[in-house]
C-alpha cells in the first residue's frame, strides 16, 4: 500500500498553502502553481502531506492510497522527483 499526492490541475487556483506546509514534496513554479512529487511517500512524511491536502482551499490536492495495481491519473506521466530520495 502506498500513499501519493495528486493535484487536480483544474481545481487548483495557486493559493500555495500546500507548498508552505509540505516543501519536501511540493514546490511552486514561477506562476505560483504547485509542482507535486507524485511518487509514493515515505512513512514519516505522510502526516505532513495529509495536512497539506487538508489545508488546500479548493480541495485540489488529494492524498491517494493505492494498492498493488495503483490508481492512475488521467494524464500518464513519469513522477516528477523534487526531493533527492
Amino acid at each position: 500500500m502506498s500513499v501519493e499526492l495528486h493535484v487536480n490541475p483544474i481545481a487548483c487556483e495557486a493559493h500555495g498553502l500546500c507548498a508552505e506546509l509540505f516543501p519536501e514534496g511540493i514546490v511552486l513554479d514561477e506562476w505560483g502553481y504547485p509542482i507535486v512529487d507524485e511518487r509514493p511517500l515515505p512513512d514519516e512524511l505522510v502526516e505532513h502531506a495529509r495536512r497539506a491536502a487538508a489545508a488546500c482551499p479548493t480541495l485540489a490536492l488529494k492524498l491517494r492510497t493505492s494498492g498493488r495495481d495503483g490508481h492512475r491519473t488521467r494524464v500518464q506521466r513519469a513522477p516528477r522527483p523534487i526531493r533527492s530520495s
Binding site: N8, P9, Y33, I35
Partner: protein, 412 residues
Amino acid sequence: MTLTVPRPAIRRLTAGPAATLGDHLSVHGELPDMSGEALIDAVEGAGLRGRGGAAFPTARKLHAVAASNRSAIVVANAAEGEPMSAKDSRLLANAPHLVLDGAVLAARAVHADEVVLCIRESAVRAWEAVERAVAERDAAGELPVVARLVATPATYLAGEESALVRFLNGGPAKPTFIPPRPYERGVARRPTLVQNVETLAQVALIARHGAQWFRSAGTPEDPGTALLTLSGAVEKPGVYELELGAPLADAIAAAGGATEPIRALLVGGFFGSWVEDPEQAGTDLGLGAVALLPQSACPVAETARVAAYLARESAGQCGPCVNGLDAVAGALASVARGAPYAAVAADLERWRAIVPGRGACHHPDGAISFVTSALNVFAREFADHGRGGRCSRCSRPSVLPIPASSPIARAA
C-alpha cells in the same frame, strides 16, 4: 530528391462515388447481419486501432462500453479541431453511409440505441451529406437507432474525448479531470463510446470483408489503411488514403509532389514533430495530417505562429498550461520579431521541463513537444534569425493553416 514510383492508389474508404445510399450499396455491397459479439471479434482480429490520434485498440473500447450492460450511447467524433486535418469532414462528405454503417454496428455491439454525430460547425458539406444520408436511411427504414447531429465549436480541444462528452452534456467543450470516464458514465450518464468517424468507417469495412482482408494492407503492428491530409507546398493538397507503414514519400508522390524544394515536414498536426527526410518517416497513426514547409518559408515564424495558436486554444482551466504556453509563445514571437534566441533559450528550456504533464489533458504536452521538435530541427534558423536584420522570409503568408484569432476559444 529521389524518384518514387507511386504504387496504385488503394481505395477502401475512398472508393466511390458513395455519397448516396444507392451508390454506397453498389460500391460496398450490403451490410451483413452480424451479432454484436461477432463484430467485436472481427474488429479484434483485424487489430483496428483508433484513427482519431490516440490509436487506442478499438476492440478494447467496444468491450469496455459493452461490459456495462446498460443502455449506451455512441458518439461519432468528427469535431476535428486540428486545423491541419480535413480527413473527417471529407470522409463524411463523400462516404457518410460508411460512417453510419460503422456507427450502427458499434451501437449494436455496445447495446446503444442512440448515435450522436458530432461535426465541426464549419464543415458545411459534411453536415449536409450526413443530414441527407440519415434522411435516406430513415426513409428506407434502414435506421435502427436514433440519430442526432450536433455541431461542435471549431476549437482545438473540442474533439478531445472528455471535452466532447462535457459539451454534449450541456457544458463547455473543455476537458475534465475527475472521473468518471466516458465508457462508464458519459453523455446523459450513460456508458458512452466515443469513436472517430474514420474508425467507424473502417469498422463498417471490416464487417463486410473480414479481419484477414483488413490485414492484407498495412503492417502487422499497424494493419489497414488511414486517411492522410496533405497541405503546404504540395501540388495537390487534400485528403489521401494510404497503407499504414508506407513511406511518406509515397503520399507526397500521390499528391503530385512538392511544388518547391522542401525544408521539412510537420507530421502529425500541431502536436506532431518536424521531419527533414520524407524517406525516413512512415505513415503512422499519429493524427494523419502532414504539411510540407518549403525552403522559402521562415521556420521561426511558422513555429511562433503555431505556438501562439496553441496558447490561445488552451481551455484556460489549468495554470501551468495557460501561463506556460503563453510564456513559450511570447518568447518565440520575440525571436520571430528579431530578438536573439540566446536571450530566451534558458527560459524556453525551463518551461519545456516544467509545463508538460501538469494539465488536465494533453494540450500542454503536445504543444511543448511540437516546440521542442522545432527547436531541434530548426536549431540553425533559430540561432541565426534576426542576425542579419529583418528576415526576408518572415513576411510571406503562413504555410501552416492557422485559423483567424478567435477570442471565444478560452471563454466558451
